[in-house]
């Protein structure tokens, strides 16, 4: 009983994102439109932690929470790459995770996208040249979009997902003011 009265008192906390991200709000509306046309407005995400410090994971957890609520855009996490459309990879790829990451990518049915989250995923960050690190994510599997930040904010991650959907081969790329992932790839 107490639980439900609290729910009622709290009300809806999902908000349009903070004002300083008004480009992100714009983006989110764009995600809605674009993911609908590309993947039928339902994108299943499989998160792969390829060796991250879990900082990015904490931010990713925020995606599903009430504030960012990615479910309203038809994005949701799934338990198996077989069910997924998009791989969300974090961290520098450790030696032990290189093969599993590759296998995950292979297990995902086409069409599929890869979004690498965090600085480590692109540059290996402070773990660079560690004996345990095999390389950045794109050394192992083809990456569509990198999301920078250590860790990136949930809104940034959403932006990355949008760019990825945008990079869908069958669609002409609309001119948006975001950096092209292909160009930033090492």
């Amino acid at each position: 009983m107490r639980l439900f009265s609290k729910i009622l008192r709290t009300g809806l906390v999902t908000r349009p994102l903070a004002p300083r991200h008004d480009e992100a709000i714009h983006l989110i509306n764009a995600i809605d439109a674009r993911s609908r046309s590309v993947l039928g407005r339902a994108v299943a995400i499989r998160e792969v932690d390829a060796g991250s410090c879990n900082g990015c994971e904490i931010e990713i957890t925020g995606l599903a929470g009430p504030v960012y609520d990615m479910e309203r855009f038809g994005l949701h996490f799934v338990a198996s790459p077989r069910h997924a459309d998009l791989l969300l990879v974090t961290g520098p790829v450790t030696v032990n995770m290189a093969v599993p990451l590759r296998k995950t990518w292979e297990a995902t049915p086409d069409p599929k996208l890869v979004v690498a989250v965090g600085d480590c995923a692109r540059t290996c960050g402070v773990f660079r040249e560690s004996y345990a690190v095999a390389g950045s994510v794109d050394a192992i599997i083809p990456v569509d979009v990198f999301v920078d930040g250590c860790p990136p904010e949930p809104a940034e991650i959403l932006r990355g997902i949008l760019v990825a959907l945008d990079r869908w081969p069958s669609r002409p790329r609309p001119a948006l003011g975001f950096e092209d992932a292909e160009a930033t790839r090492r």
């Binding site: 198996s80 995770m97 599993p100 990451l101 296998k103 995950t104 297990a107 086409d110």
Partner: protein
Amino acid sequence: MNAGGAEIWLRILLVAFPIGAVAALVVRGALGRAIVAAAAAVGSAAGFALAAMVLGWGEPVRGSFAFPLAPLVFRLDPLGAFFLVVTAIVGFAASLYSFGYGAGSPWRVLRTTGVNLNLLLLGLSLQVMADSPLTFLLVWELMSLAAYFLVLAEPDEPGAVNAATWYFGVTHAGFAALFAMFFLWSGGALTASFVELRAVPLDGALRDAVFLLALVGFGTKAGIIPLHIWLPRAHPVAPSHASALMSGVVLKMGVYGLVRVTFDLLGSGPAWWGMLVLALGTVSALLGVLYALMQHDLKRLLAYHSIENIGIIFMGLGAALLFRTYDLPLLSALALAAALYHTLNHACFKALLFLGAGAVVRATHTRNIEELGGLIRRMPRTAFAFLIGSAAISTLPPLNGFASEWLLFQSLLGGARIPAQSVAVLMPVGVGLLALSSGLAAACFVKAFGITFLAIPRSPHAEAAEEAPRSMQAGMFLLVAACVGLGLGPAFVVPLLGRLIARLPGLEPAIGLHAANGALTGLPDGLGQMSPPAVALGLVAVAVVVAVVLRALAPPFRLRRGATWGCGRLLQTPRMQYTATSFAEPLRRVFAQLYRPTEDLTVEVHPDSEYFVRAIRYESRVHPWVERLLYQPLLAMVRGAGRRVRQMQAGSVHLYLAYMCAALVVLLFVARWLP
């Protein structure tokens, strides 16, 4: 014999089986196998024809033979003919199967199997025709001995001798009970025909004694708990087509005997008869399937399932007895029809499963399902047949297991009409436990089929498996057809059963068990209606519509083969698959109080540090404690008695003469004092 057509079939039956038995002794090689199989098949076919004629006429056929000591009297009435159909279907399939199955077996095994297969079929066919206690008991003994030698056919098989000894002991205990029953009943006149027996007036206590002896005698043959001890031991070690016959038909002779005695000859009894049979049936159904779940020996698993299904049949019989006591003849007929129908269905699918298991064992040389796997690729036809059998025994519509359990449910649901409320209250419990056992059976067969046939082979044996020869496939697919046919055709079978049940005293209204338009509509006193052909048709129609719609509307379908998803694990080996033990683990935990498993865990650690584990050994066993509880004291008693008797064996001739003298005196006294 009073009808020309029937006589011909009977003669063929009586000639074919002995020819097969003799041929097995004389002719070696493929020709020998062919003759044995052909003789058994011809005999079974003749049996089927004979039974069909009797069922068609609805009138019994009579016959008798001069026999050195006493006349043997035979009479095949529709009830017997129904069981003859059971024998004939399974016998025919098993004979076909035996031709391919025997290839490669040593001559010694082939000889024993061939002789006794034919003798067993002869015994089974005659059993249902026996019309006097003497004939009945003699044929019973023939059947039991043939089955005993079949259990012993491969004596090198581990446990075979032990199993055969158990079988021999228990079946003769049952025989003793039957002998005592007929002796008490007929007052020693064992040659009296069953018709005369029916007229013998019995007072209350004697009737109860006769009933109890019949229950013990036929119960041991049928293998109901707690008289089942021999069954899970004997069935796995026999050659598979013999197991099929034993599980499919020999057990059913216990059912036949009980139906014959309690429904046909003895007449209505007090309520506790039905309660007792119903309770035994429920316990057998539940414990049978629970112990089956814990088995990893494919054939032993099937054997425990036979206990379960016999339990279900006994539930039907018990309910029928109960309804008859409370003067609800239509419900009683419905329950009896369900029991008889399930008898036929169980014979078909259990024989099918045993034949499939035999094909697996023959191809892989192991009965342990933990060593199997992936056979669906190597033995696709066997796998398909086994799948149908599994679905049928798991009571999935529209196969035959469902048809008969549906009838049984219908009759038990009618239990609310029993006027005695303290009895009526128990009916929902029975319904619940019946449903539980069918659900557990489905779980068990997901395990049996899934671990045996699906995924990756777990051993080199399974990797090297090859498809069974054509004759074996023919035997299996015949039974597949029977399972499907019987599942779709209750509207044909039920009126037939109604007609034969209506001949039993007190159940005349059963003639009203009818069906309309292929559906079990308006079963008198039944609560519901359904039509298996319509269900099957509905499924097919929906499947067609789905296929058409998908083809028309769905985008083109692309398929890619990839490695199994194992969370990105580097290596996927057969050892990482779920095993049968782990599959059954949740249920073992749920029913832990019943199983009382013994567990043994040893952890071997590195000598330098206890944190580095070198090996973990976990062992868990489930012993049917019911068996231990009941039979260990009995065995101890028998051994003790044996020891005491041995003391009498001093080896002195004089002592033996003295014993004889004493025995004579005692006998004379007894003769003097008896009227």
